[in-house]
């Protein structure tokens, strides 16, 4: 076992010597979390709302008052109905709430035949429009529960803060990036540099050398895991409502899976650039597209949904979403965990079988 330690040491030295890459790897989670969490946001921070109300009755005024006092809405004043288009175009308001002329009568009805309030949105930014509309509707519905034919309630993430959605997605992506991409590239680099030849012509089982390679990347990913969880909890105010232990346990399983995947790629690729392309195209693209990180999997065509079943990140993201955002206990994600576990075993078995201690 003595030489295992020295292999790990050598691998760690490689990583430490390549300062730029190490820095990038350590900063990626921070940058991505900040980007997705704050900048690229589909969440509702503030909706400017103008109101058209032909008759400002007491109930209309109450509804507007409730809207105006909500921290996520700013009341921009009453406008005449022929101003709606101008106000939206100039960006003076993002939404206009049009109260029906006989609002009181419709609101009082048990089963209204026509809408009491019409919400008009600037939908040039689809995401904010959709989520804003939903949010505004929930405020107005709350204003008079019986005023709307449909009652809508947003659970777990009532402000539809996108950070909640993105944190599991970012985790699913970063660990693949670091574990699979970095390890496969570092193993293939030895093939390309000719050092693999010398390693193979030695009494040590090459699998052992390769496993030693995985250790420092595993550690690096653990640092990233800690960074992400801390950022999520303290900077983005993700509640981490589920048990932190379960989140960490599932993540560690996913790390091992990603390392095994990297190992598998390294048995196929002969050149660093090939390893890079395989990791980027075959892993990153499906993760971004099919894992449910950006688009809900349920809305995809059946073929893509079927493909998404074999994307490990899909199951991981689903599990983390359940644990982190829905606050479900570990028992709720056993299906995802089993699938991930099975995938890990398959990857390890295949890569050990494929790993050749000869050059051909």
């Amino acid at each position: 076992m003595g030489n295992f330690g020295s292999f790990v040491k050598k691998e760690t030295l490689h990583i430490l010597r390549d300062r730029r890459t190490m820095l990038v790897v350590l900063l990626i989670p921070v940058v991505l979390m900040t980007l997705f969490g704050f900048a690229i946001s589909t969440e509702i921070n503030n909706i400017d709302v103008a109101v058209v109300a032909p008759h400002r009755t007491e109930s209309v005024r109450q509804a507007v008052e409730r809207m105006a006092s909500n921290p996520y809405c700013t009341f921009k004043g009453y406008i005449p109905s022929d101003e709606i288009d101008r106000v939206l175009r100039r960006g003076e308001a993002a939404a206009v709430a049009v109260f029906a002329a006989d609002y009181d009568r419709i609101a009082a009805m048990q089963a209204p035949a026509e809408p009491a309030v019409q919400l008009i949105f600037d939908a040039s930014n689809t995401n904010t429009a959709m989520s804003g509309a939903a949010y505004l509707q929930s405020i107005l519905t709350g204003a008079s529960a019986q005023a709307s034919p449909v009652e809508m309630r947003l659970l777990y993430n009532p402000q539809m803060r996108s950070a909640y959605n993105f944190v599991p997605g970012i985790m699913g992506m970063i660990f693949i990036l670091i574990c699979a991409l970095m390890t496969s590239v570092s193993i293939v680099r030895e093939k390309e540099n000719g050092t693999m030849e010398v390693l193979l012509v030695s009494p040590v089982r090459p699998m052992r050398i390769v496993l030693a390679k995985l250790v420092p990347y595993f550690m690096l990913s653990c640092i990233n895991l800690a960074t992400i969880l801390l950022l999520a909890a303290y900077a983005l105010d993700v509640p981490l409502s589920g048990s932190a232990g379960a989140i960490i346990a599932v993540s560690l399983l996913y790390l091992v899976l990603a390392l095994a995947l990297g190992l598998l790629i390294s048995t196929i690729a002969e050149k660093q650039i090939v390893a890079l392309i395989i990791s980027a195209m075959l892993l990153m693209m499906p993760i971004v597209m099919l894992s449910g990180m950006l688009f809900p999997v349920e809305n995809m065509p059946a073929v893509l949904q079927a493909i998404s079943y074999i994307v490990p990140a899909r199951w991981y993201i689903e599990a983390i979403r359940k644990l982190m955002i829905e606050g479900l206990p570990f028992a709720a994600v056993w299906r995802e965990v089993l699938i991930l576990l099975a995938m890990t075993v398959v990857f390890i078995v295949v890569s050990v079988k494929k790993f050749n201690d000869k050059l051909e």
Binding site: G2, N3, S6, F7, K10, L13, H14, R17, D18, N193, G194, T195, E197, V198, L199, L200, V201, S202, P203, V204, I209, K358, L359, E360
Partner: protein, 305 residues
């Protein structure tokens, strides 16, 4: 353990797709011998090394290193041989001593265990022991790579083109080091494209396009295959080369550095040729008999293929 031959190859053949890289190659390397594999790029030298270091399996024929079969007993062979591949095979981002320590660990030994073996070589690079291997000069890289290949005291050492791209001084030093290792009873198989290094070996094999051309001591090869050679020099060497090709009884004429080498048959008449060249306006030419060298033999054997 005490096999008679360090390396024994019989009818070794290796194909890549439709290309035959090695074609029925057979030879033996004695214990403690410094054996040179001499041939140009594409001759099959690297393929032969990869077969002997068990990195690949042959398509036909057998090979044994230290009495162990290269296919059946490849694991045992791997702990007994030292291998320096053609390319720079060290970790450029690790220092000299880190590289050495890693390769020692790879073979399960400590650097101090066999320090006596590498000491004469390592002492020359020791002043730079904290320097990254990637920042060493070509000659120093080569010395470090040799130390790394020797750190576990292998019984057979495989060196694939260790002197390629290295300047004449470093090359000469390197061969001095090999001579010292040979004295310590390490059998060495070394390949080189430089024909002038043949004389540094006990025995050599000439190899070209996967075929073995000849195996013997350098002197033996020259006496077995040598031809009548004349050297020709003086004046405009290019014009002289073209003129020499028109001389009677000249089989072959090649530029050979300072003088052209003429391979001639038994009826060659030097005096008559001198006169003919003088008539053609070549005033001060020197045409003298000379001894064949390894290169002459190589060219001759290549042409026979």
């Amino acid at each position: 353990m005490n096999a008679r031959y360090a390396i024994e190859i019989d009818g070794l053949t290796k194909r890549y797709g439709g290309m035959t890289a090695l074609d029925r190659v057979s030879f033996r390397v004695e214990r403690g011998e410094l054996f040179g594999l001499i041939g140009p790029d594409g001759a099959g030298k690297t393929t032969l090394f990869r077969l002997l270091t068990t990195l690949m399996n042959p398509d036909e024929g057998t090979a044994a290193v230290d009495g162990l079969d290269c296919v059946a007993a490849y694991r045992q062979i791997r702990s007994r041989v030292g291998y320096m591949p053609g390319r720079f095979s060290l970790y450029a981002d690790l220092s000299v001593e880190e590289n050495l320590a890693f390769f020692a660990a790879l073979f399960g030994v400590r650097v101090v265990d066999n320090y006596d073996l590498i000491a004469p070589i390592y002492r020359q690079i020791e002043p730079f022991r904290t320097r990254r291997a990637g920042k060493l000069s070509g000659g120093m890289k080569q010395k470090l790579a040799l130390c790394c290949a020797l750190i576990h005291r292998p019984s057979v050492l495989f060196l694939d083109e260790p002197t390629t791209g290295v300047d004449a001084v470093s090359r000469s030093e390197f061969w001095d080091m090999l001579a010292e290792l040979k004295a310590k009873e390490i059998s060495i198989l070394v390949s080189t494209p430089y024909m002038d290094e043949a004389d540094r070996c006990d025995r050599i094999a000439l190899i070209n396009e996967g075929h073995l051309l000849a195996v013997d001591s350098p002197r033996g090869i020259v006496s077995a295959y040598g031809e009548r050679i004349y050297t020709l020099s003086g004046g405009d060497m290019y014009a002289l080369l073209l003129a020499a090709r028109r001389l009677p009884h000249v089989r072959r004429c090649c530029p050979f550095g300072a003088a052209h080498h003429l391979s001639v048959d038994a009826d060659f008449d030097a005096a008559a040729c001198r006169r003919q060249l003088a008539d053609e306006g070549f005033a001060d030419v020197a045409l003298q008999p000379a001894e064949s060298g390894i290169e002459d033999v190589f060219i001759k054997l290549m042409n026979h293929e």
